[in-house]
């Protein structure tokens, strides 16, 4: 059923009790052409584009928990594309272009809000960094405005411009913003199922069957399944899946935390982000401040970060916004992020034939969801990455052609 004003009115007569389920719970079939492992935004999106644009008919998405229950539902929902290097700019701006039409494409409101993102500069070096990156963005067709102290103070009047680390300027991307993270998973799931994709929840992959160097099947908690091609799209468990297929990855899995405050009236109509004091904050449509910062430095799969990281988020937040100092924080949570040496993702082929991987998005994968899914779908369908995906191959860790993206994590590394 199409979501429309007409159907909204029609269903109101039956007290909204007769809406169809957005997606069903099909049984796992014995054989598929393509299986996507991981039912987050990237995985569901991959299945959607495979079915819609690349004519693949028999697709399943396997998710060990519930769809969107991993990092898709655990991030701070920030979307931007103001990356330094050409390779990253192409990938993340492809995503922003898709974000702009996503709600109507999926017939599902993902609440994409281009409220603008201010990346703050606190020192001469920071000003040089945002200037360099801003000009790099211009050259790559990404909107960027370099603002001075006065312009930032006028736009965000309640921000403390003269703290211990004064705000000297900012890099503004007006096309950046936020989206509703759950809706992205739900929208892709519903649209994919409408195209015949089987979404199998509570189905964990336990083994990968390989014959003569080619993937032939998967062992899951719901039985074994034969398959022609597999796309691994796991956030937080990339190394575990790679281990099943007999190869290792240049990845460390670390906890990353975020938290939200009690809801308040509208006070912040943009996204604020700072490398140097290291915090990022936006206000959700419910009124909560959504706050994030750095990841822990040690490997962990516990989905729980350390307490001192919370202090490291709060200190810069209240320095920038003393007005927030008496807010109560309601919830905090952790996700496990797969960090690569250059903070850029890995998209493409693996040492196993017809087994593809899309992982290593580190601390910033949500923003790329549609772009990542789109280029990965093409990679899986054609067996070769396209021009956007090619620089992000696993092989770059042998050739040395890293995409060393310090802008990826909003943190010096």
């Amino acid at each position: 059923m199409k979501y429309s004003f007409y159907n909204l009115v029609r269903n109101s007569f039956s007290y909204h009790e007769n809406w169809e389920k957005a997606w069903s719970s099909p049984e796992l079939k014995p054989e598929y052409d393509v299986i996507i492992v991981g039912g987050g935004g990237h995985g569901l999106g991959t299945a959607y584009y495979l079915a819609k644009e690349f004519g693949v008919k028999n697709i399943a998405v396997l998710e060990k928990g519930w769809i969107g229950g991993g990092n898709t539902g655990r991030n701070t929902t920030i979307i931007r594309s103001n990356y330094l290097w050409d390779e990253s700019a192409a990938l993340y701006n492809h995503a922003v272009n898709l974000w702009e039409g996503l709600s109507s494409e999926l017939n599902f409101n993902v609440m994409f809000s281009q409220r603008g993102l201010y990346h703050l500069a606190h020192s001469v070096h920071d000003m040089q960094e945002i200037t360099r990156r801003g000009y790099s963005n211009y050259l790559n067709g990404i909107d960027a405005e370099i603002l001075n102290q006065e312009q930032v103070a006028k736009k965000i009047p309640h921000m403390n411009m003269h703290g211990r680390y004064p705000v000297l300027g900012a890099l503004l991307q007006r096309r950046a913003g936020t989206a509703r993270h759950d809706a992205v998973a739900w929208g892709y799931a519903r649209a994919a199922e409408n195209l015949g994709v089987d979404i199998i929840q509570n189905c964990e992959v336990k083994g990968i069957d390989i014959s003569n160097g080619k993937v032939v099947g998967l062992q899951t908690t719901k039985g074994s399944v034969k398959v022609d091609k597999v796309g691994l799209v796991p956030a937080g468990h990339s190394s575990v899946l790679a281990d099943m297929a007999g190869f290792t990855l240049p990845i460390n899995s670390v906890p990353l935390q975020a938290l939200v405050s009690e809801p308040i009236k509208p006070i912040l109509d943009c996204v604020i982000m700072s490398n140097s004091v290291h915090v990022y904050v936006s206000q959700s449509d419910k009124g909560e401040l959504v706050v994030g910062a750095g990841s822990d430095a040690y490997n962990s799969y516990s989905q729980r970060g350390s307490f001192d990281m919370i202090e490291h988020m709060m200190a810069p937040l209240v320095e920038l916004f003393p007005i927030f100092s008496r807010l109560k924080m309601l919830r905090s949570w952790g996700g496990i992020v797969d960090v690569t040496p250059d903070r850029s993702p890995i998209i493409g082929k693996t040492p196993v034939k017809d087994l593809f991987i899309n992982c290593g998005w580190g601390t910033g994968g949500f923003k790329a969801t549609p772009g990542s899914a789109h280029v990965f779908a093409e990679t899986v369908a054609k067996g070769e990455p396209n021009d956007i995906a090619a620089p992000f191959s696993l092989d770059r860790h042998y050739s040395g052609a890293l995409v060393d993206e310090a802008a990826a994590a909003a943190v010096a590394h």
Binding site: N252, N299, D308
Partner: protein, 94 residues
């Protein structure tokens, strides 16, 4: 947050330490002769296990010395800490 037993100073709060990734990775003896694949493996590829992990920590705000930690990455429980140069403990030893 952990309490970590520094082999030199005893139990201290985790905030005194920093973690520096997987331990027991030997630099190839002949860097000029190894292939790009071997050098890439050495530089970038890591085990990243879900379970027992051997890792290097430094006691930054204490003795400033490096040591190794054997830790379960699922529960974050530290099984053992030991000095650099000590034998890598087997999973069955502890």
């Amino acid at each position: 947050m952990f309490v970590i037993k520094c082999p030199y100073c005893g139990e201290r709060d985790q905030t005194e330490f920093s973690c520096h990734g997987e331990a027991h990775i030997a630099r190839p003896d002949n860097p000029a002769e190894v292939s790009d694949e071997e050098w890439g493996e050495y530089l970038f590829f890591r085990n990243n296990p879900k379970g027992i992990h051997f890792e290097r920590w430094t006691h930054d705000h204490g003795c400033r010395r490096w040591f190794n930690v054997m830790r379960d990455t699922v529960s974050d429980k530290i099984v053992k800490t030991y000095k650099m140069g000590d034998q890598k403990p087997g999973v069955k030893d502890v």
